[in-house]
Amino acid sequence: MVFKLNNQLLSRMAIGDGHGENSSYFDGWKAYDSDPYHHQNNPDGVIQMGLAENQLCFDKVEEWLKKNPAASICTPEGVAGFKDVAIFQDYHGLPQFRNAVAKFMGKVRGDRVSFDPDRIVMAGGATGAHETVAFCLADPGEALLVPTPYYPGFDRDLRWRTGVQLVPIECDSANNFKLRMEDLEAAYEMAKLNNIRVKGLLLTNPSNPLGTILDGDTLRNIAAFTNENNIHLICDEIYSATVFGKPDYVSIAEIVDEDRKSGRNGLNLDLIHIVYSLSKDMGFPGLRVGIVYSYNDVVMNCARKMSSFGLVSAQTQHMIGSMLSDQEFVEEFLGANRARLAERHGAFTGGLGRVGIRCLRSSNAGLFVWMDLRRLLKEQSVEAETALWRVIINEVKLNVSPGSSFHCSEPGWFRVCFANMDDETMEVALGRIRAFVAKHKEAMKPARKLCAQSSLKLSFSGRIYDEFIMSPRSPIPQSPLVRART
């Protein structure tokens, strides 16, 4: 039996909604959870396209694991090493794990730059990594600048327990949502005018939800700006291995390296930090491998101590350590990952293009497309976007993520994930979109009426709701659903 007690016994954090799950955007998730698509069992169900998971290369991983049973330690072959692993709770992490992750990160960047294994600090997934960095760099009330549109989870991960604020820098479609220096500078100045103490800038590169990367010059300029103003630069490079086409990816690590090698030493490395994880690049969100890589020794030490709250299971460390030490496997995996993502992206955007739906053209990375449905909006407003979104969920039966949940300043954009399904499902999804567009072209008004009438109160038992609140797919904070995970 569980008792309700007076609120006096709860902290403000427990009572408040910093977790962001009270948002009305839950509806998309509810729709999916109560009616999930399945080839045979439920072909008319809702297809999950709001989840940025990478399932395209599982076969490669499975194959490797079958060939290397000792890696997972908990097998008859691996049991010899069990004792040392089971007892290992040192927050420095298994050296083999750190070495392997450092090498992997270097490989992802084409070996153009190398990472120091001693700087690899663990965290409870990228979720934990972001929170840890925020705890280290900013005090309650201080702020981080973040270009929009951005991953809705940041509202929770960076702010909830830390008390840190996020100040958005609005980017718009006129220049492909690319962050402009003038906007960055203006946002910074405006924050200062409002007495908001900005401690840093958070970039997600490759971007979620845009799927674009920043070119070297822009990155250099941004780094110069943060350097000049003595604020931190946090680069979330969680999608770095999902870059499947030109132009080539440039990591902040390369900018740092370049600065050092040239002898200029113009950058204060104490201001630069990278957040990483294996959740997207390798498709391993369940393993909870988050990484904080900071060039600042004090931050590194602090983050390492905080990693006690989110250490990676030693069993997982061992497995990843073995897997990523296998250079041959890594190269093959990265190659296959890129190729399959490119193919899937091409097929999907091609399919969309054929019915006149455009996606952000410059996108060459990520597990999703940034779809432009502005022309389908009754009017350029968030309400219209929301209305359209409800239609997409209820009629087209696709769970996509509306741009407003990413704090996008322009209504009409949607993030649609394509890497968490097989080819067949993707075809079904495209088919539904085609049908919808065809219908929509003839009937604009009815669509509106439908929206007004559609009641989003889907019936579901309390248990499903709980299940769903607990599920990682739960939408995020204030922002609408959207993949709670990026």
Binding site: L9, S11, A14, I15, P69, G266
Partner: protein, 537 residues
């Protein structure tokens, strides 16, 4: 804010001294004059300006500038038990180059700076030293023997055998769909798989005595007891609030609870006269003192079996605690992580869960922390449990669990292992037997050296009274002995002061990571130090 010019103003200088009060007066009065339009304009504006300038100058000089990263070697964490941890010392980090355009020192958060400071508690220092020179019977017989980490390696053979016999199909599972990578690597519920909760609930009731059952839906799983206690703290206390905690207590709580939550720990001192058992009188006293200091107490944190003493709390004490909590309208957190590591034969462990099942009680204020690090010897796998009767706390903890989720393959493995109830029963029983054996050997050995231990029934350690060996009956004397034991005797134990014990001379010695044949060596080394102390060295 004082208004009348005749009252003593607060001197603006950073170092208030008696004389300053007078200066202050002379400062304020002219200011008052200026404000009120009377004379004293020059004095009224010049003096404050001058003082302000000097104040800024003082601050500037005394503000610690961002120094180049200080440590050249980072101390390892509290459990440096892996042989791989050889070389943690690294070369001095690259110098702090402030490139052109950089303004001033790099600012981190104040809590970040506080946390980053090297920890000088003997608890951590000792662990670091062992990491640098760990004892190994063959490879390093003169190394430091680790008695400062409560780890249990006595029953790994059982687990290893289980794995050989049961995990034929490897992690992937022959045709077991659940074990496919798809089921493992994808996102799972952040608060743990339901199957694991069911398995854990079963394990907990086996461990804690069949008199109590646990409901999986009241459980939130997370990556270790460390995040479990922090998350629970975030749910029930605000920044600046406090928990009461009986001393001596596990040094890690200072980190787990205080680091990021900003919650304070108020010690409730227990004494050897009571065998370090908690009394309500002491609790009451501590509570009132906290109130006087303006601190809001949100809960009591107890560990049962206790760490570092190894006491089991009696039913009476547990009931008294509940009454106290009820009266003050606060929470009780019972950390029962050592519940399965019992060696006593006279007392029976009673979980808080059992007490409140029996009584008509306001259960919403009771929470239990558990984990597999001690009872199943799997600290590396990171498995912790928050068990609560309060649905609001549960809901909040579930959401916070996303920052510290258990790795999916580990969950799968444990579901398998914990479901093998025959194995688990055998394990629990054998574990207790072996701990008891080590306890008898170890405490017996100490006894022969003239060192008595507190009466205890559980845990992976004993609480030894070495006050006879210290010259100066004080914390200083205790630390000197600790130092001798560490550096001369080459034995790392945890001094009571690191555990906030109010009586000097007590040391926690963990004995479950030793082999039986190592015990005589340990006693020999301690004996040597004892001799040194007795002969006045």
């Amino acid at each position: 804010m004082t208004e009348s010019p005749s009252s003593e103003p607060e001197p603006p200088s950073p170092k208030p001294r008696a004389a300053a009060a007078g200066n202050g007066m002379r400062l304020v009065v002219p200011l008052q004059g200026v404000v009120q339009g009377r004379g004293g304009l020059i004095l009224g504006s010049l003096i404050p300006c001058a003082l302000f300038y000097f104040f800024q100058l003082y601050l500037k000089r005394h503000r610690s500038p961002k120094r180049p990263p200080a440590s050249s070697s980072n101390p390892p964490s509290p459990s440096a038990s892996s042989p791989n941890l050889g070389d943690l010392a690294r070369t001095s980090s690259r110098s702090n180059l402030l490139g052109r355009g950089s303004i001033g020192p790099v600012r981190l958060s104040s809590r970040g700076m506080a946390i980053a400071k090297p920890n000088d508690s003997p608890y951590y220092v000792g662990l670091e030293k062992v990491a640098g020179d760990p004892f190994h019977r063959v490879d390093n017989p003169d190394g430091i023997i680790q008695l400062g980490l409560s780890e249990n390696t006595l029953c790994f053979d059982l687990i290893e055998r289980w794995m050989k016999e049961n995990l034929m199909d490897s992690l992937m599972g022959g045709d077991g769909a659940e074990l496919s990578i798809n089921g493992m690597a994808t996102y799972q519920p952040f608060d743990g798989l339901m199957e694991l909760k069911v398995a854990m609930a079963d394990f907990m009731s086996r461990v804690m005595g069949k008199g109590v059952s646990f409901d999986p839906s009241q459980m939130v799983l997370m990556a270790g007891a460390t995040p479990a206690i922090e998350i629970l703290t975030f749910c029930m206390a605000d920044h600046g609030n406090a928990f009461l905690i009986p001393t001596p207590y596990y040094p890690g709580f200072d980190r787990d609870i205080k680091f990021r939550t900003g919650v304070e720990l108020i010690p409730v001192h227990c004494r050897s006269a009571d065998n370090f058992m908690l009394t309500v009188t002491a609790l009451d006293q501590a509570y009132n003192q906290a109130r006087k200091r303006g601190l809001k107490v949100r809960g009591i944190l107890i560990s049962n079996p206790s760490n570092p003493v190894g006491n089991i709390l009696s039913r009476e004490t547990l009931n008294e605690l509940l009454d106290f909590a009820q009266e003050k309208n606060i929470h009780i957190i019972s950390d029962e992580i050592f519940a399965g590591s019992l060696y006593g034969t006279t007392e029976e462990f009673v979980s808080m869960a059992e007490i409140i099942e029996a009584e008509e009680f306001d259960k919403g204020r009771v929470h239990i922390i558990y984990g597999l690090s001690k009872d199943l010897s799997l600290p590396g796998f990171r498995v912790g449990v928050v068990y609560s009767y309060n649905e609001n706390i549960l809901a909040a903890a579930k959401r916070l669990a996303r920052f510290s989720s258990i790795s999916a393959p580990t969950q799968r493995l444990l579901i398998s292992m914990l479901s093998d109830t025959k194995f688990i029963e055998e394990y629990i029983e054998t574990n207790r037997r072996r701990i008891r054996r080590m306890y008898e050997l170890f405490v017996g050995g100490l006894d022969q050296l003239g060192i008595q231990c507190a009466k205890s029934s559980g845990g992976l350690y004993c609480w030894a009274n070495m006050s006879v060996l210290i010259a100066l009956y004080s914390e200083k004397g205790e630390l000197e002995l600790w130092d001798k034991l560490l550096n001369v005797g080459k034995v790392n134990v945890t001094p009571g002061s690191a555990c906030h014990c109010i009586e000097p001379g007590w040391f926690r010695c963990c004995f479950t990571a030793l082999a039986e044949e190592d015990v005589p060596l340990v006693m020999e080394r301690i004996g040597k130090v004892a001799e040194m102390c007795k002969s006045g060295q």
